[in-house]
């Protein structure tokens, strides 16, 4: 039915009680105002109706949320039905061979197989003649593409332009890994350094030993290139004896104190750069005789520096450890430099405190939530509200509630907001509880499922065809009586709605699967055939 402008004015006159001229003038005023706002590029909102806005010369209308909800009052409380469960139930029947959900082409009619199955099955003739007219073949929205596995990539490249070797050994934590994971290891150690204590030291010694092996390889290359570099080779040998490194170096330094000092200074120059400069000045002042050794040793150091900057640039843990080790050595050989030693930051002590604070906060939060959850403390949103039985607490629905089959009635759902507020999740629980049985005894030869007969409680695990959503129980009862007299198996369920109070749904039949219900729905008569939906009984 189409309500044109004149009919709309009449309805407005009836509803508002205003005079026709006044209604027309106000309507014209509204239209002018909407047009003016849209021409300015703005949007115009009519409370309770929606928003009018313009795109180019077109006027678009976005309905208000309340309006969108109210026009769907018949479907209040309906939740998406898991099809996998239904399919698994259907697979139990031997004559049906439906492909698995993964194999099903969802772009096709989900009920397309119904007709084939009906044709194959030895079912009555009418099933084979009709066509499914439901819009169930509408395009299926496939959101699976959103979940396509994505290849994880490194957030940034740490190769520093030195090639992209994909050596798996470099990806493993350890001395060969120069990258962000090294920082992670440092951070992890720092976080728990106060808690772990001695364990950290043992881990550090292990890493140092591994790191020294790495440097051995580097220094062996140097030894091959610069053959005859006894000092470096001795130094390397000294480092090979991981635990006796300092002793060996000390012995070596006793033989060549100045040259070895220079080696150490130049080798680990970052934290002691200024000290090394001072040391060089001192050495230069002392004697020029040592300069020859210095130049030779510096030449070796330069060879080492060809390797060390790689470590520095990557800020690897090995480089840091190397510097630390150098600092320790320098401390051993130069007592004057103790003041410039890198002091351990106080962070390791403070971070455990932060951990404890976080732990306490978590415990307090969890305890509060538990208190709220168990009702000891009333926390909105946490404390479960007592459930209301819909059949007992239901107030009388407003007389203005529209019924699906009585379009003459004017519906005012906004006036129903005082009705009990119940969660939609309770719908599924209350439906079976509020199931109205016909009271008739079940005949012995009646099948458990079907369109006709008397409702069977054992068949309440199936599906049914909803044809009415009514706001009054009396209307639902009268519909049920009428349909029962026609031989239908009628179920009446209550659906509590937060906005509309309780809706009484009159449904036909009990079917084991949704497919059976869809097939049976196609045989419904015209008033029901046009507007129905299938839902689960429980």
């Amino acid at each position: 039915m189409h309500i044109d402008h004149s009919k709309l004015v009449e309805l407005l006159v009836e509803t508002s009680g205003l005079e026709k001229k006044k209604v027309e003038s106000q309507l014209k005023e509204l239209l002018d105002e909407i047009k003016a706002v849209i021409e300015e590029g703005d949007a115009y909102e009519v409370g309770g109706l929606g928003v009018f806005s313009g795109i180019g010369n077109n006027v678009i209308f976005i309905p208000a949320d309340d309006l969108s909800t109210e026009i769907n009052y018949k479907y209040a409380g309906m939740e998406p039905i898991e099809m996998d469960d239904a399919i698994s139930r259907e697979e139990k029947t031997p004559q049906e061979s439906e492909p698995s959900p993964s194999e099903t082409d969802l772009d096709e009619d989900p009920f397309a197989g119904l007709l084939d199955d009906v044709a194959d099955a030895d079912e009555p003739g009418p099933h084979t003649s009709f066509e499914l007219d439901m819009d169930l073949d509408e395009e299926t929205e496939d959101h699976a593409s959103d979940d396509e596995p994505r290849k994880e990539e490194a957030p940034f490249d740490l190769d520093d332009g030195k090639g992209s070797e994909t050596d798996p050994q470099e990806e493993k934590p350890g001395p060969d890994k120069w990258g962000i994971d090294t920082y992670k290891d440092d951070t992890a150690e720092n976080m728990f350094s106060g808690l772990l204590g001695k364990q950290e030291e043992s881990q550090q010694t292990e890493k140092e030993s591994v790191k020294e092996d790495h440097f051995n390889a580097l220094f062996e290359q140097e030894g091959e290139e610069g053959a005859g570099d006894s000092l470096l080779s001795e130094f390397t040998e000294a480092e090979d004896d991981s635990d006796d490194t300092e002793e060996a170096l000390r012995a070596e330094l006793e033989a060549r104190p100045d040259a070895e000092d220079e080696d150490d200074e130049e080798d680990f120059n970052d934290p002691f750069e200024t000290l090394a400069a001072e040391n060089n000045e001192d050495d230069e002042d002392d004697s020029f005789a040592d300069d020859a050794k210095l130049t030779s040793s510096q030449g070796k150091v330069e060879e080492e520096e060809e390797v060390i900057p790689v470590i520095k640039n990557l800020s690897s843990e090995g480089a840091k450890k190397k510097r630390k080790q150098g600092a320790e050595k320098a401390k051993a050989f130069e007592p004057k430099k103790d003041k410039t030693k890198v002091k351990t930051p106080p962070e390791p002590k403070s971070q455990p405190v932060m951990l404890w604070v976080l732990l306490i906060i978590l415990i307090l939060g969890g305890g509060t939530y538990a208190l709220g959850y168990f009702g000891i403390v009333n926390i909105p949103g946490v404390t479960p509200q007592p459930q209301m039985a819909s059949t007992n607490t239901q107030t009388t629905p407003p007389a203005t509630q529209a019924e699906e089959t009585t379009p003459q009635e004017q519906q005012t759902p906004q006036s129903q907001e005082d009705t009990p507020v119940e969660e939609p999740a309770q719908v599924q629980e209350q439906e079976p509880a509020s199931q109205v049985s016909t009271g008739g005894s079940v005949p012995a030869n009646q099948p458990a499922y079907g369109m006709t007969g008397v409702p069977v409680s054992a068949a309440n695990d199936g599906y049914t065809i909803v044809i009415y959503s009514l706001s009054r129980e009396s209307s639902a009862e009268s519909r049920r009586n009428e349909l029962s007299e026609e031989g239908y198996r009628v179920l009446v369920t209550t659906v509590p709605s937060q906005q509309y109070g309780t809706l009484w749904r009159v449904s036909l039949g009990q079917f084991r699967t949704m497919r059976d219900a869809a097939l049976a729905a196609e045989e419904l008569e015209s008033p029901f055939f046009e507007n129905y939906f299938i839902t689960k009984i429980q």
Binding site: M1, L27, K28, L30, V46, G48, E141, H143
Partner: protein
């Protein structure tokens, strides 16, 4: 134009849409109810669900283009 009139207009249009009637406002456009049957939909987690039916409002502006 009063707020009561706007409220009444919204109620009248809503009720007519609920009753499957289309409503025309001269100079503005036509509101038409559109019913969407329940349909099968595949969720992102791979499960197939039968979405419940719903009604929507389709607005056709009077002055197009």
């Amino acid at each position: 134009m009063t707020n009561e009139f706007l409220e009444t207009l919204g109620i009248v249009i809503r009720d007519q849409i609920i009753m499957k009637n289309s409503v025309e406002i001269k100079g503005l456009g036509t509101f038409k109810p559109v019913h969407h049957n329940q349909k099968q939909e595949k969720r992102s987690d791979g499960t197939n669900v039968m979405m419940p039916p719903k009604d929507t409002i389709e607005f056709t502006a009077e002055n197009k283009g």
